[in-house]
């Protein structure tokens, strides 16, 4: 009865379990939480280490000895300007107020994307499985193309298409000294309960590192579960409040002074069923009649739905889920009101969930909501949606909280001229 007991499939199941279990980089010889390899919580998730044998060398740290001889913070800037005898790090970055960016989140922040080509008999081919190993080692997430930590080039266009835009890229454009200073601390299915532990994998030293902008973006799993009595298993507003305060307490102890923590409200995901319910799922493209409504019901029957409150043909249940999501957002607003003055290492902020604005903007430009949703699960935001969210969030920060972003570095051009792509990713 258990498919994982079938010869051959057993090995694959073991491999999947192992890949999905890790929360820290697997390849990390110096134990500084930054890696030189990509998958298994490596550089797809956190800036690539530039020395995996030195514990004091990693992205986001304040430069050691002004990086006169080597690059200790992996931003690609090091050496001495012979004309002035000053280090480049000091000259180009010293007054620039560098900062990193991180997200504490769920599968939306990690950017879950199962290529629909894997399920669609009309599109399946050797090419679409070419990067399967990396995809699994990244937990079927694409943090390197995500809203907060997207970076680099899309080398996987056979299975994922759309623009790359992210808060990290925009913060780096603003100040190129921030190169590689990103951390994606998100996991599929993560909620406010689990985040109290997962936050411990955020690597930041309050004395040695630069400040960081942390997005607390648990936008759904506190109302999402696969149980038939789903409402009974949702987080209560009081538990949401307590869990969030616990996570903030941990951040208070680990973030450098002048950091920012931005809590994001939960999403109202009624749009999912409304836009996807009658569309055809890729697993039956050739036969052409298996709708997302049927797909959601099948997942619910097997009790493996990522969210039976949103992904259901039952409209009353979707409304109840929306109600609880709003109550949990209100709990976050209360955390903000009660604790905005409590933490001296960081400023606390609250923002409403940006999804409705992103959808509105997309529709305004002639698009349709379903075009922003992942085809394989009918649940997550796709590459277009991820990039659009980055744009909407950035606009919100620029207009309402510009202090979060820091000043534009006037030396950006010079950095580009001297250090090119700064070592890439």
């Amino acid at each position: 009865q258990n498919i994982c007991e079938v010869p051959g499939v057993k090995d694959i199941c073991n491999w999947l379990r192992k890949a999905f279990k890790g929360r820290k980089p697997s390849v990390d010889f110096d134990n500084d939480m930054f890696s030189i390899s990509q998958g298994l919580r490596g550089s797809s998730w956190r800036g690539k280490d530039c020395s995996d044998t030195s514990r004091n060398v990693y992205p986001g740290t304040k430069p050691l000895a002004e990086d006169r001889t080597f690059d200790s913070n992996c931003n690609g800037i090091f050496g001495v300007n012979k004309k002035t005898a000053r280090s480049y790090e000091e000259e180009l970055c010293g007054a620039s107020q560098p900062r990193g960016v991180a997200v504490l989140g769920d599968s939306i922040s990690a950017h879950f994307h199962m290529p629909p080509q894997w399920l669609d008999a009309t599109l399946i081919s050797e090419k679409v499985f070419e990067h399967l190993i990396l995809v699994v080692e990244n937990e079927i997430d694409w943090p390197m193309l995500s809203t907060v930590t997207g970076h680099g080039k899309n080398n996987w266009t056979e299975v994922i298409t759309g623009p790359i835009d992210s808060l990290y890229l925009r913060i780096r454009d603003r100040n190129r000294c921030n190169h590689r200073d990103y951390q994606n601390i998100a996991a599929n299915g993560e909620d406010s309960i689990g985040m109290q532990n997962l936050v411990k994998t955020l690597a930041r030293n309050p004395q040695r590192d630069h400040p960081i902008i942390v997005l607390y973006a648990l936008i759904g799993n506190d109302v999402c579960n696969g149980y038939p009595d789903t409402v009974a298993h949702m987080t209560t507003p009081q538990a949401m409040y307590d869990n969030t305060v616990n996570t903030l307490e941990h951040l208070h102890a680990t973030l450098p002074n002048n950091s920012h923590v931005i809590m994001m409200g939960l999403a109202d995901a009624r749009i999912l069923y409304n836009s996807m319910g009658h569309r055809i799922h890729p697993v039956a493209t050739h036969w052409g009649h298996f709708t997302y409504g049927q797909f959601y019901d099948f997942m619910n029957c097997l009790q493996i739905s990522p969210c039976s409150g949103w992904l259901t043909t039952n409209g009353t249940l979707r409304n109840l889920t929306a109600e609880r999501a709003e109550e949990l957002s209100e709990a976050l607003r209360k955390v903000y009101r009660d604790h905005k003055k409590s933490y001296y290492n960081f400023d606390l902020h609250f923002i409403e969930n940006p999804m409705p604005n992103a959808v509105r903007e997309w529709v305004k430009h002639g698009g349709e909501a379903w075009q922003l949703i992942e085809p394989s699960d009918g649940f997550h935001s796709n590459q277009i949606g991820q990039a659009l969210l980055a744009k909407v969030l950035w606009r919100e920060f620029e207009t309402k909280h510009p202090e979060i972003l820091g000043p534009v570095n006037p030396n950006n051009e010079e950095i580009g001229r001297l250090f090119g792509n700064q070592g890439g990713y």
Binding site: Q1, C4, V128, L132, T285, Q294, F298
Partner: protein
């Protein structure tokens, strides 16, 4: 419950194999072989081991176009826990269901199981 992820994976696999065989106008054996071939080289041995075990059963089920729901119940990756409803994906279109409404779902599953047993006996010999 009711087979959970294993049932979902089986259902998707059978749906893909059936459609792919139709699209490529190939036999079930060729289609299964192709699916292992297109995986990264590291996974091919596991895929072939799985096919050695499951392949003969899948061939019987897909050749008879029983559809993913019946196939995965016959293979027992999908089942019905006491007190739970029987899960149907309803993936294959109506015209693909060979037997009409005169046969219940349970009867179709039973018939598919018998086909598998017959094939296995034939393969193994007396």
């Amino acid at each position: 419950i009711n087979g959970g992820y294993g049932c979902a994976a089986c259902t998707a696999l059978v749906a893909i194999v059936e459609q792919l065989a139709e699209i490529k106008n190939s036999t079930v054996v060729e289609t299964l072989d192709y699916l292992c071939y297109i995986l990264p080289v590291e996974l091919r041995p596991s895929c072939r081991a799985a096919l050695e075990f499951l392949g003969p059963m899948l061939v019987v089920l897909v050749e008879h176009k029983v559809g993913p729901d019946v196939a995965c119940h016959a293979l027992t990756f999908c089942y019905t826990n006491p007190g739970q409803p029987t899960c149907h994906s309803m993936i294959p279109p109506l015209h693909r269901r060979l037997k009409g409404p005169s046969m219940t779902f349970e009867e179709k599953v039973l018939e598919a199981k018998q086909r598998i047993q017959f094939r296995m006996k034939k393969t193994r010999g007396p």
